[in-house]
């Protein structure tokens, strides 16, 4: 099951990598693949979700050939994961999308921080507002998808909860 989710995550990631960049900073991603991590978190638990995340990051880097971007994925992904971990049990099932929004925001915050660190330019922080907006929107989108999916799957009882 975990493997399946990881695969899906990878696919999304690779497709997303083909999209034009949101900012002049190369490597900054929308984070659509996070939908998988979120899903795994609710469906399989934190360890599996972490697994999906790390695996996707590493293999995503290999598949897209941009090892530089791995740093961004990592920073963004880990921060997103942590905040989702923090929140996912505390909000009810209708608010999975909220968890996702927070995750997406933190994902972008992580990316900007890494970019600033690498170039030693604090000025890059001008992109934070744009990325927060993007985070809210993509987070809501992926979150709703995940939420929807989980609801459906619940009724069919494939998953534990």
């Amino acid at each position: 099951m975990t493997a399946l989710i990881t695969a899906v995550s990878l696919i999304i990631f690779v497709i997303e990598a083909q999209l034009p960049s949101l900012t002049p900073i190369p490597g900054i991603k929308l984070g659509l693949a996070n939908i998988a991590v979120l899903f795994a978190l609710y469906a399989l638990g934190p360890t599996s979700a972490l697994f999906v995340l790390v695996l996707r990051i590493i293999m995503g880097g290999i598949f897209t050939g941009q090892m530089m971007a791995v740093l961004y994925s990592f920073a963004g992904g880990i921060l997103a994961y942590l905040i989702e971990l923090l929140l996912y049990k505390r909000l009810n099932k209708n608010h999975i999308w909220v968890v996702s929004v927070f995750g997406a925001i933190m994902h972008n915050v992580g990316q900007i921080l890494v970019a600033i660190l690498i170039t030693s330019t604090v000025q890059l922080v001008v992109y934070l507002p744009v990325l927060i907006i993007s985070g809210i929107i993509t987070g809501a989108f992926t979150g709703l998808c995940a939420q929807f999916l989980l609801k459906r799957l619940e009724t069919t009882k494939i998953l534990k909860q």
Binding site: I83, V98, F102, Q123, P129
Partner: protein
């Protein structure tokens, strides 16, 4: 938004709050992004500005401020920690190595300039009220009395003890303190790894290296006749430019202007047709002392002096007819909208 302080909700509240706050901070922070490189502070009785470039710029700036303040406490005539204060009060004192070195340099300058630069004329400067603000025009008799106690030959320096031969003597390092400070602060800045910086110690400019792109620092010389204009521009690289001019500090009484650069021979403001002397060299302490000395000497003596020491410094001299004279060594780095004459070796 009631219930908003309840347990689990509180966490979310905090997170949201943080995002909003950091956002607002961003708005203000962004403007200040570029100025990690400059600082301005008050020390040594004047305003000091330091601009540094490069990776360690921030570090260099705070180190610079610290060093300036340390020197301020050490060298001022008024501070409670001032060694000079102690010396002047007791007539004799054990001083730190740093102070001894500065005094020795001052004495060297005294002999080199034939007494044109003299740190022992403090009692006279004090009488004029330039430090206290109580301006007073001394009588000839008062001055001749005080002049008897001046002259660096009356300073006795043995090891770390400095003493005065006569009672009522007093010294003031103000004429070279800033120059010395600029040397020390530049050293501090350089030791932080900074290779490009420009500093101003109350108008004494010290250029470390050149601009970040390698070009020379452009330093303007103020026009003594018109405070808002420039007499010319010097392009400096690892050099100091220090200017002495009567127009910088003066008072007027009964229609006569008295400025703060006292001629050690007469005890009165130097009056020989020179309005501004700018010294360019690589030592701040020398430039500071020499700018005062050459101003006191007047044009002819100053040119003669320069010719004897042309490898040590260069100068820009402006007289009361607004004529500009530039010594040969810097003729290629000096430019001006007005005409100027080059003094050759």
């Amino acid at each position: 938004m009631y219930n908003y302080l309840k347990g689990e909700n509180q966490l979310k509240r905090v997170v949201v709050f943080l995002i909003i706050i950091s956002n607002i901070l961003l708005l203000f922070g962004c403007g200040a992004g570029t100025s990690g490189y400059s600082t301005e502070f008050f020390s040594m009785d004047t305003v000091i500005t330091v601009s540094a470039y490069g990776k360690k710029a921030d570090e260099a700036l705070s180190a610079a401020e610290k060093e300036s303040n340390r020197l301020n406490d050490l060298l001022s005539v008024n501070g409670p920690e001032s060694e000079i204060n102690r010396l002047n009060a007791d007539g004799s004192a054990v001083l730190s190595e740093e102070s001894i070195n500065i005094i020795n340099t001052a004495v060297d300058l005294y002999y080199m300039t034939d007494g044109a630069f003299d740190i022992t004329i403090y009692p006279i400067v004090d009488l004029w009220g330039f430090y206290t603000g109580e301006h007073y025009v001394p009588k000839d008799s008062e001055l001749s009395e005080l002049l008897k106690n001046t002259g660096c030959e009356k300073l006795v320096i043995e090891g770390s003890v400095v003493s005065f031969e006569l009672p009522d003597m007093a010294i003031d390092l103000g004429g070279i303190a800033k120059g010395y400070a600029s040397d020390k602060v530049a050293e501090t800045v350089r030791s932080c790894g900074v290779k490009s910086a420009i500093m101003s110690f109350g108008g004494n400019v010290y250029a470390v290296g050149g601009r970040p792109d390698g070009s020379r620092w452009r330093v303007a010389i103020q026009d003594p006749a018109d405070n808002s204009a420039y007499a010319g521009i010097l392009e400096l690289y690892d050099q100091v430019a220090i200017t002495s001019g009567g127009y910088q500090r003066f008072f007027e009484q009964d229609g006569v202007r008295y400025h703060h650069i006292i001629d050690p021979d007469t005890g009165r403001p130097a009056d020989n047709g020179v309005t501004s002397v700018t010294i360019v060299c690589d030592s701040g302490i020398l430039a500071d002392g020499l700018s005062t000395a050459l101003f006191v000497m007047g044009y002819d003596k100053a040119v003669e002096f320069w010719r004897e020491h042309s490898d040590m410094f260069d100068a820009v001299i402006i007289n009361d007819r607004s004529e500009i004279f530039v010594t040969e060594g810097i003729k290629d780095i000096f430019s001006s909208d007005s005409a100027f004459e080059v003094i050759s070796r």
